[in-house]
Symmetry: C2
Subunit: 293 residues, 2 copies
């Protein structure tokens, strides 16, 4: 609701115009409200003005569980477009501007080839309240072998209120050792094998919460997880505001989206193709690791 909050400040001088034009903007009649909202409504003034809007927002939305002051989302060449843009959008409504944290200066390219300007390079960041580690494909595997970055993630994790990963971002978070013994979710592709590799326990959920660690299944599950964190920290009304802004009432046109809901041949084709990219890359990186031990 970041843009909404800024709008509210704009409204300081705007409401006078819109008042003239549309008349007052009254609160709903008591009979239009749930009993809980009715109680709240009785404590609210009749109209939003420049003076009372933040008070009204606080009264409607309530206060967050933790005061979040910094949100960082890791980005790198080959990051999955929606793995980071989903949470970037959801957390962008928290009132804190999430930073896109890159591995190196300059733009980065998503797995789909979109070129984006990051906000900052990771080694200049030493604290985050929320860390999000998105996934991807080959670039994610390479990143999961970057020991300097893994050390930075461990350091940042000591400062976080929430540490999270999306999709195969769990392969990076897992490589830090932080998922050892924790329940976690990750992309459907060879899920069990990768969780085992990092000593994590299968969460078998769209997103899994284990203490401050939140991990999601593939790509679009990152949006569900981010909204769930908004719901947990900022409350249900805040999450409802974000979901209404996103008109997030999803309706996939056909059945699919999980291995169980997908035809065998398509599932087989997808796994074969992922294997073709993943296997030789992991082989060569493990080889390099051995040589440099």
């Amino acid at each position: 609701m970041k843009n909404i909050i800024s709008l509210l400040f704009v409204s300081v001088f705007i409401f006078s115009c819109s008042d003239k034009k549309d008349g007052k903007n009254p609160l709903p009649k008591i009979e239009e409200l749930s009993s809980q909202d009715s109680l709240l409504k009785n404590q609210l003034p009749d109209t939003i003005t420049g003076e009372n809007h933040s008070m009204i927002m606080d009264m409607i939305l309530g206060k967050p569980k933790y005061q979040i002051k910094s949100i960082g989302i890791l980005v790198y060449d080959g990051v999955n477009d929606l793995d980071f843009m989903g949470p970037r959008y959801v957390f962008g409504q928290s009132g804190v501007r999430p930073k896109l944290i890159a591995l190196k200066p300059g733009t980065f390219k998503t797995v789909m080839g979109v070129e984006i300007v990051p906000d900052v390079v990771y080694d200049s960041i030493d604290h985050l309240d929320i860390l999000v580690i998105p996934g991807g494909f080959k670039g994610t595997i390479e990143t999961s072998y970057d020991e300097k970055l893994l050390a930075w993630i461990r350091m940042i994790d000591k400062t976080t209120i929430y540490t999270s990963s999306v999709c195969t971002g769990g392969w990076i978070l897992g490589a830090t050792g932080l998922l050892k013994g924790k329940k976690a979710s990750t992309n459907w592709y060879r899920e069990e094998e990768f969780l085992k590799k990092y000593g994590a326990l299968p969460g078998d959920e769209r997103y899994t919460k284990d203490g401050k660690y939140w991990t999601s299944a593939g790509v679009t599950a990152g949006m569900d997880m981010a909204i769930a964190i908004i719901n947990e920290n900022w409350g249900e009304k805040y999450a409802q505001g974000v979901m209404l802004d996103m008109e997030y009432d999803p309706a996939p046109p056909i059945q699919g989206g999980t291995p169980d809901n997908t035809g065998w041949l398509v599932k087989w084709m997808m796994k074969s193709m992922y294997d073709a990219g993943v296997n030789p890359l992991i082989d060569s990186l493990e080889q390099f690791k051995k040589i440099n031990k």
Copy 2:
């Protein structure tokens, strides 16, 4: 599946290694398949190789209804991050690289403040098979008054197989006059009023198809619409491949995402805040239009 297809080319030399390592990658046993897939399986070779992979993909996925050679997504300062990145990701798997088409040279900033490098400026494009017009907030309203751009959209529309809009992108498409008398969907916010303004009929759907015109509800509905177009043009197996890649089996953590599913106070708060931004902007743009007639 663009990245998957590229993976397949990589696989030309890779499968030999992974064959050694994992043994052959056999097709499923007949009893694991649906009757329809069984028939198909009987015509397929037993393993994917560098030589037969594109044939196998064609046999599994089938041929598209129309050969799509160009996809363009309009972008501008203030475009909603997910309105364009959702379809950009989905259509990025079609085998055609969607172009982000900007209003002017240089980077653009999303409504959430992400800085992105577009592929091309619109006046250098004179043909598209698929045009996507994403929405946003204030930037979208301003764009819907850009007569030079509206003329370009009308010109491009003469060349398209699919013309589509996401969210308030319908306000831009509507401003071209192309939605007159057509059923359409747009963002929930003052939906009826804006459809009426552009002479469109309420589709009352998550996304609405009227001939070659596809229009979606707010933000995340653009993903459902893009997958539905993949399903329509590339077929159900292709759409299932895309949905599995996205692990698109959405599970919102709480009820919400539509005005009807949202508490009255939150709904009232959101609309009041949108009004505060929209009303004075439209007033001044209409004023300017009158003066310059």
